[in-house]
Symmetry: C2
Subunit: 318 residues, 2 copies
């Protein structure tokens, strides 16, 4: 299968590392809007994104690894007008809108796109759906962490007096336990998670003021149990460079017979690397679906598990 990567951020690089080990994929090239030395990245040829259209007919699937919020809404529909494409669009509320635009482009071009692929949205969405389908009168809870939230880290960096910042989302252990035991009936994310911030402040910054500013930020920290730690830049660089992430989807229900619990948990040494693996797996399905004439924009819900593996390999797994 001939694939290409669009975008060379953390995710794009992780895809290249992951492809390195996969014999099934032939990497046609990397398409980036920034300047990169040709061949400098894992021996992959790097081209300007603008010339991707010249590769029409030469790529089976493009993995669009550009920035989710800003780039994917524009570039995935464009790529879908030329190639099969998989992306990791993760702004949950805007998925229907993104889907519609990609669907139009893909259908016109008789191509297949799978959007919002990764672990959440992605594997976690599948876990929520299977659990909800099997236990229609149950409850499903999603816990994120421990891991860095890019959005919350950016929110911290936007404050005056902050030089560098990282925010870890941490599930509250008692909430996790309550969810597993079928007792947690509220789905209030703020009661299920703590937010732990590590901040390098400017020397003259008023730390107490910053702390209360952070704790009252609406939409980010207000309502959450938030811990703010001020650290040195040295400690920041030394201790806070992990890409690790984790999470749990817990479904439970009560019947006359007792409590049933289903749980899907993830612990990733590298968040982008695991997302890259999921993208690669679904790129195989994307190509198969397009070959069968199933054009348009799909999500992980529209992909049958069998399309992720060869028939021979999957039969043993039943």
């Amino acid at each position: 299968m001939k694939i290409a990567v669009a975008g060379l951020g953390n995710l794009g690089k992780a895809v290249l590392r992951e492809i390195g080990e996969e014999k099934e994929f032939e990497l046609v090239g990397v398409f980036s809007r920034r300047k990169h030395e040709n061949g400098g990245i894992y021996n992959a040829p790097v081209y300007p994104f603008e010339i991707i259209k010249e590769f029409k007919g030469k790529i089976d699937v493009v993995l669009n690894c550009m920035g989710s919020a800003s780039d994917l809404p524009r570039t995935t529909p464009y790529i879908a007008s030329l190639f099969n494409v998989v992306d990791s669009f993760d702004t949950h509320a805007l998925i229907p809108e993104h889907r519609e635009r990609v669907d139009k482009a893909a259908k016109t071009a008789e191509r297949t796109a799978i959007i919002s692929v990764g672990w959440d949205p992605g594997l976690f969405s599948l876990a929520r759906l299977y659990m909800g389908a099997v236990m229609p009168r149950g409850k499903t809870f999603t816990f994120w962490g421990q891991g860095v939230s890019q959005g919350h880290s950016e929110a911290l960096r936007s404050l005056d007096g902050v030089l560098a910042a990282r925010q870890y989302t941490v599930p509250v252990p008692s909430a996790l336990e309550r969810a597993k035991s079928g007792e947690l009936c509220e789905t209030d994310t703020a009661k299920m998670h703590r937010r732990v911030c590590y901040i390098v402040a400017e020397p003259e910054a008023d730390k107490e003021k910053l702390k209360s500013e952070i704790k009252s930020m609406p939409g980010y920290f207000k309502g959450y149990k938030t811990e703010v730690n001020f650290i040195s830049f040295d400690e920041f660089l030394r201790e806070h460079n992990s890409m690790a992430h984790a999470g749990h989807v817990i479904g439970c229900r009560k019947t006359e017979e007792g409590v049933d619990t289903l749980e899907f948990s993830l612990s990733a040494a590298s968040n982008p690397r695991l997302t890259a693996s999921v993208l690669l797996a679904f790129s195989k399905a994307c190509f198969k679906m397009q070959q069968r004439g199933e054009y348009g924009c799909k999500t992980v819900f529209d992909v049958k598990a069998a399309d992720l593996l060869n028939t021979k390999d999957s039969e043993k797994l039943l």
Copy 2:
């Protein structure tokens, strides 16, 4: 959706209890080969299995809940020649053969069958497949229990001197931990599980002899760490009537970045009740697939998640 249940063992009864809470299903009737008082079971009309063919055109999906090893290989192909059908055939090694026979019958009749639906095979198969697809150079381990193994309990009962018996399969905690940490590289089921037996022996039975007979039974207990407990019939009835079961599918891999772990766990208060819920969920997909002309025999791998729920409900879960 008009459904019918074939077979009135533990699973058939669990389906009836589960349907009781589901507004989406209209129960046409129960078809059993044993005599049951009409209306005696959850107000459902009970008919002899032999007359099920008279209901042709009046049932959307039949849930075949007969005994897996002995009945399903004969009855699922027969039902598939008349109706859409879902079963829980669970003899892993014989699935391809069963599939072929059901496929032939279903295709001829332009019906859709989904076989081997439940939690293993079923949800656990899906977990193994998604994990294998996402981490192609990783390892996937399946742990069963703590819960009763019907096959092993029957093996115990087949021995001279045994009046009643139950066998619990119990995961070895250290093996579970090693699997999660990416360290377990062997997939030897015997090293991953203990077998705990509770036996009511005939008064005159030689317990020491029985014990060593059990521990050396090939294919069942030989090679396993097996614990044999002799108990009274009173204790047996009082302490060993739980239908609870549990299990874990653990996938892990090592990359340059560290260890990634995915885990799907299940804890069911009632094994048949959870299996019933999975059957009902897939019966919806079965009907949709047949309506779209996707005839023949399918497994959970051939069903896209979206078909388990209404589109409106599933979009929120992304």
